[in-house]
C-alpha cells in the first residue's frame, strides 16, 4: 500500500507545472486560494492523478478538498 507521504510527493510534483507563484508546497497549501488553480486547471490536475493511480475521483469529494493534504488523504482512501 502506498503511504500518505508518497501521495503528497506525487501531488507536489504534479502541481509543479501549475505553481506559477513558486510557493513552497506543503500539506496546508490551498489549491485554489494559494496556488490559484482555475476550475479548468483543477480538472486537468485531477485527470493527471486519476491516470497515475488508475482511479476515478468522483466530483462529490471536491467540495471537501481545500488543501494538498486534503486531496492526498482522499486519493489514498480511493486507492485502498
Amino acid at each position: 500500500m502506498t503511504e500518505y507521504q508518497e501521495y503528497l510527493d506525487f501531488l507536489y510534483s504534479a502541481l509543479a507545472a501549475h505553481n506559477k507563484k513558486s510557493l513552497v508546497l506543503t500539506e496546508e497549501i490551498s489549491l485554489v486560494a494559494d496556488i490559484g488553480l482555475s476550475s479548468l486547471e483543477v480538472m486537468e490536475f485531477i485527470e493527471k492523478i486519476e491516470d497515475h493511480f488508475d482511479i476515478s475521483i468522483p466530483l462529490n469529494i471536491l467540495p471537501d478538498v481545500n488543501t494538498i493534504g486534503d486531496l492526498a488523504k482522499k486519493v489514498r482512501e480511493l486507492n485502498l
Partner: protein, 400 residues
C-alpha cells in the same frame, strides 16, 4: 457578504452596459416568422434559435394551441399527480412513446425538468453516474441532487468512459452512463455507437439527452441513437419539445416498464404544474407534422451544410463537421461581444456564448439554422460574417 460572489457577474454586466450592448437580454420586440424578428428596432434574421424545423410559427400548431385554449382553458393549475392530468397530456405521452417505438413515456413541463428529474432520480446513494464532462447544466444539476457518486468522462471519449467503467469493477453493472445526442454549443455529435459498445462490454444503463438531436438526426427523427443504430442499447431517452417541436416541455421514454414506478419518484415531475393544454396541443401537432414531413429534416441539413461550408470557406474557426449548430470560435470576450453586436447591426441575430456556458474556455458566436431558413437568408448570414472580417472585427490569422 451575501452578494460578494455576484461581483464578477456585476462587473461583466457593467462592461456590457458601458458599451451599450445587451447580448443576454436581447429582446425580440416582434416575431415576424420562424426566421425573422425585430431586435433593437431592426428587422433581423434569427440565426441563434433552436427552432430547427421552424415549428414555432407553423399555422397548424398555432391553430391547435388556439383550439385547445378554448376547449381546456389557459392552464391546468396543478401537478400531473393532482388535478393537472388532462386527456391532452395522456395523449401526448402515448404519441411520444409511439414516436420512439417504446411503451413508456413521461411528459414534463420543461426539457430542463425532464433531464434534471431523470438524472436526479435514476441513480442514488451507493450507485455511480458517469457523465460526459461537457454535459448540459440540467444534467449536472440532476446528478448533484441524486446522492450517487459522480464521475466525469472526457467529452465524446468512449475510451475514457471504458477506462472508468473498468475501474468501477463489479459496480459497473449498475452504473448510469449519461451522454447527449448533439451538444448544444459546438453542435458536435456523441459517438453513441462506441458508447453503447462500452455499455455492452461492462454493463450499466445508458441515458441519452436528445434535446438537440430529436427531429434533427435519425431516419425518423428520433435522434442520435437512431442515427447510430443503437436504440436498443439506450435505456432512457430524454428530450425537449422546445427546440425541433417549437413549443415547450420535456419527455423521457423507455422500454423499461419500471418507468411507470419511477414517474412517482421524480420531484421535478410531481411538484410542479403540468403544461398548459395549448402547449401540449401544439406539441402534438408538431410531432405529427415532423413525422409526416421528413423533408423538413432534409431542408435543415441542406441549410446546415450551406452555412457550415460558407463560414469555413471564409476561414473562420468552425467545428470539425457540419451540424445545425455552427459555432464560430472567437479570440476573447471583447471580440465576441463586438462581433455579436456587429452581426446584429448587419441584420443577423446569433447567440453569444462565454464561459461557463461554453465548453472549456471557448468564446463563441453560436449560429443555428432552421429548416425554415431560405437559402438566400443563409447567404445573408455568411455575408454578414464576411463583413466582420473586412471590417477587422474578426481577424482570420489569429483564429481560424
Amino acid at each position: 457578504m451575501l452578494f460578494d460572489k455576484f461581483q464578477s457577474m456585476a462587473s461583466f454586466q457593467a462592461d456590457l452596459a458601458e458599451r451599450d450592448i445587451a447580448p443576454f437580454g436581447a429582446v425580440a420586440e416582434q416575431i415576424l416568422s420562424a426566421t425573422e424578428g425585430t431586435v433593437q428596432g431592426k428587422n433581423v434574421i434569427l440565426a441563434g434559435t433552436n427552432n430547427y424545423l421552424g415549428m414555432s410559427c407553423d399555422p397548424r400548431c398555432i391553430r391547435a394551441a388556439q383550439q385547445a385554449a378554448e376547449q381546456w382553458g389557459t392552464g391546468t393549475t396543478g401537478s400531473r399527480l393532482a388535478n393537472g392530468s388532462f386527456a391532452e397530456h395522456q395523449a401526448l405521452e402515448t404519441e411520444i412513446a409511439d414516436f420512439y417505438g417504446v411503451d413508456h413515456a413521461i411528459v414534463f413541463s420543461t426539457g430542463y425538468s425532464a433531464t434534471m428529474g431523470m438524472c436526479a432520480t435514476l441513480a442514488g446513494p451507493g450507485e455511480t453516474i458517469l457523465l460526459d464532462g461537457d454535459s448540459h447544466a440540467s444534467i449536472y444539476s440532476g446528478v448533484k441532487q441524486s446522492g450517487a457518486e459522480i464521475i466525469r468522462f472526457k467529452h465524446n471519449n468512449p475510451e475514457d468512459l471504458a477506462k472508468r467503467m473498468r475501474r468501477l469493477g463489479d459496480r459497473a453493472g449498475s452504473a448510469l452512463i449519461i451522454a447527449e445526442g448533439i451538444y448544444s454549443m459546438l453542435g458536435d455529435v456523441a459517438p453513441l455507437k462506441e458508447i453503447a459498445a462500452v455499455k455492452r462490454e461492462y454493463g450499466g444503463y445508458l441515458l441519452v439527452d436528445e434535446a438537440h438531436s430529436m427531429g434533427v438526426l435519425g431516419q425518423t427523427g428520433r435522434g442520435a441513437a437512431q442515427a447510430a443504430g443503437v436504440e436498443d442499447d439506450v435505456d432512457f431517452s430524454v428530450g425537449t419539445f422546445s427546440k425541433s417541436l417549437g413549443s415547450i416541455g420535456g419527455f423521457c421514454v423507455s422500454h423499461h416498464p419500471e418507468l411507470e414506478a419511477i414517474r412517482y419518484c421524480i420531484s421535478a415531475y410531481i411538484f410542479t404544474a403540468s403544461s398548459s393544454p395549448s402547449v401540449v396541443a401544439s406539441t402534438r401537432e408538431a410531432l405529427r407534422i415532423i413525422t409526416a414531413q421528413p423533408e423538413l429534416r432534409e431542408n435543415l441539413w441542406n441549410n446546415a451544410h450551406q452555412l457550415y461550408d460558407g463560414l469555413k470557406a471564409l476561414g473562420l474557426g468552425v467545428g470539425p463537421s457540419a451540424s445545425p449548430v455552427v459555432a464560430v470560435e472567437m479570440e476573447d470576450r471583447s471580440a465576441t461581444i463586438q462581433g455579436w453586436q456587429a452581426l446584429l447591426d448587419a441584420g443577423v441575430y446569433v447567440n453569444l456564448v462565454v464561459p461557463p456556458a461554453s465548453p472549456s474556455t471557448n468564446f463563441l458566436l453560436r449560429n443555428s439554422v432552421s429548416a425554415a431558413h431560405s437559402s438566400a437568408q443563409i447567404d445573408t448570414i455568411i455575408a454578414a460574417y464576411a463583413g466582420l472580417i473586412e471590417n477587422g472585427v474578426i481577424s482570420i490569422d489569429k483564429k481560424a
